[in-house]
Symmetry: C2
Subunit: 330 residues, 2 copies
């Protein structure tokens, strides 16, 4: 920086001003400095800046270390959105979302003087750790506890599940079964609720809830059971992978989809259109979640204070394919 100052014939201070686009620099000197910077190929040291300002253009992300389609898509979408706003992303992935590991990850980020924090915390066990976070750092929770988290961005699970259930009901089915995700995931809980509400509103009987764990295996396992129940004509699964396992189980039992049984999934994984049959499903808009998160976080960073009230809920859309049909007439 001193070199640049010397070459431009100004003080280091003026160079700093040019770098930070301070108004009080005359045009001629600004140009001289710019020229010197270009000639020397000078790049400011972000570390030094971070030291003196006490903050940096880095966002820390705490995310579960999983390749599950939802979280993974969320993460890449967020990375991109953050970068587009000029922020680097520091990922602290956590093997399990318990209080300790989250707290550890947060502390690691704080040591690095991140400007803000994003926690992708879809499970209830993350709650206590989040409650105990430092108050004075910008924080956005993605997919967190709707009851608790302060600044929260989330997919509207309830609305998505409602849409799925109502779609099946509208096709003529008297009721809809549901294979859920793991009970401690908010996503799963929201989808269960949307399903229940839709059933209630339609005055349909509510079948027992079957529990899965997002995996195709759990869909298969539950499918083995459902396949033997003649009265089952419509099933809504908590995600597409469960639906895949379910499809497999049904086909093994000779039950045809959608002629005998209709199915709706959730997530719209890129492969869903090539299941047999192509799967009708609910598509959450991960990009919208990501941009909303960045937006909210940046607002906090600029204002300097965490905003405890801001919320953003992204409505998913139903993607209709071939796995839904009217129930068989008997």
């Amino acid at each position: 920086m001193m070199d640049v100052a010397r070459l431009a014939g100004v003080s280091h201070q003026t160079v700093s001003r040019v770098l930070n686009e301070h108004p009080n620099v005359s045009e001629p000197t600004r140009l001289k400095v710019r020229a010197a910077i270009a000639e020397l190929g000078y790049r400011p040291n972000r570390t030094a800046r971070a030291l003196v300002t006490g903050t940096s253009k880095v966002i820390g992300v705490v995310a579960p270390n999983t390749a599950l389609y939802g979280p993974a898509s969320m993460l890449t979408a967020f990375e991109q959105a953050a970068q587009d706003s000029g922020f680097a992303v520091n990922v602290g992935s956590v093997r399990s979302l318990n209080e300790r590991s989250i707290a550890d990850a947060v502390e690691r980020h704080l040591d690095q003087r991140v400007a803000g924090l994003v926690v992708i915390a879809p499970v209830a066990s993350a709650g206590p750790a989040l409650a105990r976070l430092p108050e004075d750092i910008p924080l956005v929770t993605i997919d967190g506890d709707p009851e608790r988290a302060s600044t929260l961005v989330t997919v509207d699970q309830v609305a998505g599940a409602r849409a799925a259930t109502e779609h099946l009901l509208a096709a003529g089915h008297s009721t809809v079964w549901h294979i859920s995700g793991p009970a401690d995931w908010f996503d799963a809980a929201g989808r269960v609720r949307g399903w229940q509400e839709a059933l209630q509103d339609a005055g349909a009987e509510q079948p027992p809830l079957l529990t899965g764990d997002w995996s195709a295996e759990s869909g298969y396992r539950n499918g083995k059971l459902l396949a033997r129940l003649d009265e089952v004509t419509a099933i809504f699964t908590a995600n597409d992978h469960i639906a895949l396992g379910l499809l497999r189980a049904l086909s093994e039992h000779g039950r045809r989809v959608p002629e005998e049984i209709s199915i709706v999934g959730f997530d719209d994984v890129p492969q869903a259109a090539y299941y047999s049959p192509p799967l009708t499903t609910v598509r959450p808009d991960f990009d919208a979640v990501a941009t909303a998160s960045v937006e909210l976080l940046l607002a906090q960073i600029e204002s300097g204070a965490p905003d405890l009230t801001a919320r953003r809920t992204i409505a998913p859309t139903l993607v209709s394919r071939d796995s839904v049909a009217p129930p068989p007439s008997r």
Copy 2:
């Protein structure tokens, strides 16, 4: 740090020594300092350290911004491995792997004074940028150009493809068709080569190569064509998603798998066991790739010099399920 020093009754320098585990500190003072640190809840400022040492405990990762199963799994596995070695991970994802965006991402990382760089660069277009990288920074390329990259960790695509092809040949098929990934991906190229080599070694005739793009859609498209060709009895696809699309196309045409046509995929996505039929596929060990990368990178960081010769190739394993059977006798 000064506060700690005061409380412990030593100089800031001694505190620094304790922190860095310098040998020349007596046990009593070490304990005093430790106690003071604990009492004050002091956490060293990594930014300040980075400024003076010129490096940090952060690894920069340049990765394509995709949710594709391979790259995404690689990334999360790497994050975990790096963290286990005490390094934070800065992800600079790139929309497209062209020279400019890679160079930009690298510069962003360099500005942050990362200790080392990992580039996940599975496509040929990344080549020029990699060649122009600064020489003096520890660098590991994952899935890069086998011909060029210096320190390279990669899945042995050729061996995996060989195994898949040989498995089909061993089942009695006279030859094996292949739907490849995009031509500019090294992964795809390696799989094509393994397939060709296996065919040659077995003295089997080599059918024309069909090109896909990793997507189920491309598998479906090619499948529409293959389904009409009576002589096709065995197909090896470049990944599982292509296989899924292929399965769908074949079933639409009434061709049965594995009775009429056998299929082997690549990647072993978690859902592969629930395709119809469960898919025989090749499983790359992403964790092994990740640990090897971290190992190689750390070795460079410690030695201070890039190692231009180190390479690591991870052998994949064949996972046998139900999509392979002997060819139909005519």
